[in-house]
Symmetry: D2
Subunit: 311 residues, 4 copies
């Protein structure tokens, strides 16, 4: 039985991601446990109360999830690693207590939701319920729960929250931009890096020397010179002052590849700091094309040649 | 009389930024008007109801303010431009109604604040009021107002919110990380670009061709080859899918400099899209050092030489 | 009547190049005049005694012709420009006075030729006339002339030298590596730059700041960032000490293209010195592919956009 | 007794270089043997008739010595390596048979010399002996020998050639540009690479993929990304057609340094071919500054870090 902590409460997209991931597990099945915060989920992992933790990482509309990024950095060097990723299509429904219709909300209504969900449904709300007041809650599931408790008239939440809290959808697919995707990561502590699959991703965080012009160019060059494409580059403030950033990087390569190891050596040599957060299979299964000059076998042969020169 | 819309309600750091900026105005003084949202402040600007709008842009701990970035992009090509920036030191106080002491909050209390402020004071709250429940509100000032209305026991807010809502501070300087700074921008519509000062910043947004490896390197190179340093580079999702980003750039140069104009030509030629959001004096007044090869006079002489070759 | 000075004496490959080029002239035809040295040919040009000078520039086996490169640099800033190029297939014959056969040379023979020609026929001579002594002369034509004067037994020379000096070929196509090509340039003084043809070359010489690491990378980047390919890059000592070079560059672009003008501005700004030696049609007529971002029209539109921003 | 082959005949600058180098040898002293050509010197080395061969490599005025470059390439992959370099100040004298004065040469004279020496003394000859005829010979020493045989009136040669051939100097220091230096290399076969000294040079030849734009930039980047400066970069035609080059590189690093080994791996991976011709102490003894990120210890620590990640 695999024990999975996820960012709750029940009914969030994260629970959906946790279920989606656990369907791929063989054997004794999984038990999901909701955690109130990302740090709480990670704490459960560290303390051995669960085997994995599933947390949201980034959204195709809102960008990354700061709480998760921060919690991963707080993990320290012996910390948590990403062992898998899960993509979930984001759908929003407007949920009410049974008996309340969309029409009932026209004149005056309080709609609870998470601020990200509010941002992603703003146009729909302005158009459909222009007199409604949108109230922020800590999660869309908490918003749904609060509606079930009678605190608000309706919640903008994941479809799955209806069942979890005894609500009914009075409008579905209300996101302004259809096709939004949220990416979740599955965290472990002390587990081996999953074997390469040919469709892998490596997540890193790097701190460059801010006072050196061209430092970011040099950082990107560490990947380019070894034929590694990046699928994600995100700057985040380090908290040390305006203009001080670290960079979150997803590279299309695996730790076991020589090109990735050489790039890591290059980052370690030239950056203020670098953190390795895991190599794991891509959720989309897209094959990573490796240029001929950067393949494992090319490295092996080139190193043998240099070895012969030195002896 | 300069009319200034700012992201309200009164008592926010944005009001403080608006006052700070208006102190630099000569003449008839300024009138500040609070707007409920960033888009509302910008709408007031577009419709001529105010002369400038002051909105938060980025924070040294939390990063950029998505609502502002989005609103600036929604402005379209003939839209709003940044004419100035203001830096405000961020200080948080714990505010209560007169008569409530810190001791009164120990056992059980509701603390309202904006989620960003909650994040920046989490350690202090965990340590000082471990049993308190933190409730999200839409702004720190709204949180203070709600406390004055009796909805919560205390607010984590800007010091200025105490006076605005008749509250008193029971703890001050409670941010976990001292020295946080928020950067605000002063927006105008249809105003000329301020003249160069030798300490200027140009804000741009660029969309690169995501499917071209090396596109970001090429983007950065457009600046490097013309001796322009960047003080800020931030990736933001475009909303078109995971891995699709635009890049917000602050360059240490002014639109009137030939090196900046040539870089803009280069970006326009090579990027999917590029938006110019303004050149304006840096708030820190730090002199921008221009390499000899990139100075205005060097450009003038080099172009005259090429001109002579062609005739 | 176009007067053409060429590097003589008659019978050299340069005469062949001069004739090849003059065949393309309309009208009154051409008169060819042999000059003893490259500087002498250029002097005739400067003093108005001829209209053009044809001199060898580089050979696909031996590399560039130092005397020509030096003479072009000595021209100074108001000097000579390349207006056309000519490619000539290099063929060597072994020429003797009538009555002398190849067999007669087996036991003991003196073979006169230019050192470059000696280098290109060394294997053939070692195999066919292993006992012959090769003697250096100042040109292959001078070698042929010396044979006609009875000074040597045979000359390794251009096929055309046979007729010029009354000799006969006893062996033909004796170059060790078939397919060698020599490139000649047609020089003018004070003539306008030929109009772009879509298949053009621009010849430049640049001096970089030797004590700056990365200076050559930066030089190449001035072309790369504007989508200009180089077809030739040659380092030459400046004569100021070991490790001091200038770089001869052939760029696949024309002075009238905005991308080339911008690159020239960039070189002028960043290099110790730069010399423009001409834009002219490529001898091979190969169409130059210009990336979309570097086309003339792209530049025009990008500059109009920047112009609108500044007003 | 170390046996040294050098490019003769006696009296050349190469003999001077061979003596200069052998002065540094301890023990039984050296025996110098003149070879008629660079390939002959190398053949003596391969066949074990000598221990080292000393040949000219490049001159600060004339550039590289094509015969040496070609001979080194012809050596094949198991071939000759450079084990040391020697710098010799180049001085030219005008040498005559005893009894002939400079005045005697004014009216009519034949001056024999090597074409490179002719080029380096052209202005002096034009000014001092304008009516003299300069005749090319295969070396300056051969020119001196020919004067001693009565074939010419005078020779432009190294000062040391006077003693070797019984001539006297009638003019000294006649080079147009004082301070010229020629660099010689000391070749060995099958000897170990000399140990690093902190002031080392590595000589390489690389063939890039000519049809790939940016291939040279990528080549240079292999060094830049590892903090290696180049002291020499020379393009040479490969003989396969106009525009086909190989690049001779002198890098300021030693084969035993991890940064150099990693760069060699990078070149081997990305170039059409690469040849290692030796790591050896710099003749000028200038200390090579290694950036902190490229030092041996930095590599060791960075690799240990990656090693820990993978286990």
């Amino acid at each position: 039985m695999t024990r999975i902590a996820y960012l709750g409460p029940p009914g969030t997209f994260t629970e959906q991601a946790a279920r989606q991931w656990s369907e791929g597990l063989a054997g004794a099945g999984a038990e999901t446990i909701d955690a109130p915060t990302v740090p709480a989920a990670i704490a459960a992992l560290r303390e051995g109360r669960v085997d994995v933790a599933v947390v949201p990482f980034e959204n195709s509309v809102e960008g990354s999830v700061p709480a998760t990024l921060q919690a991963l950095l707080d993990g320290g060097v012996d910390g948590v690693r990403i062992g898998a990723e899960v993509h979930v299509q984001v759908q929003f429904s407007l949920l009410t207590r049974p008996g309340t219709s969309l029409e009932d909300l026209r004149e005056r209504a309080t709609l609870a939701t998470h601020p990200h969900a509010a941002a992603q449904t703003r146009n729909w709300v302005d158009r459909s319920l222009p007199r409604a007041k949108v109230v922020p809650e800590s999660s869309t599931a908490r918003a749904a729960q609060a509606v079930s408790e009678g605190l608000y008239d309706a919640a903008i939440a994941a479809p799955g929250a209806a069942q979890a809290y005894g609500l009914v959808p009075v409008a579905e697919h209300i996101a302004d931009r259809p096709g939004a995707v949220t990416r979740f990561v599955v965290l472990r502590v002390g587990a081996p890096v999953p074997a390469p699959t040919g469709s892998d991703c490596t997540t890193l965080v790097t701190w460059i020397w801010a006072n050196r012009p061209g430092a970011l160019l040099a950082l990107l060059d560490q990947f380019a010179v070894r034929g590694i494409d990046l699928s994600r580059l995100e700057s985040r403030p380090t908290g040390e002052g305006l203009g001080e950033y670290c960079f979150w990087i997803d590279a299309n390569a695996h730790l076991d590849e020589p090109r990735m190891q050489e790039a890591l050596v290059g980052l370690r040599r030239t950056c203020r700091d670098v953190r390795f957060l895991g190599s794991y299979p891509r959720a989309d299964g897209r094959l990573v094309l490796v240029p001929a000059h950067a393949r494992d076998q090319t490295y092996v042969e080139a190193r043998e040649w240099v070895q012969r020169l030195t002896t």
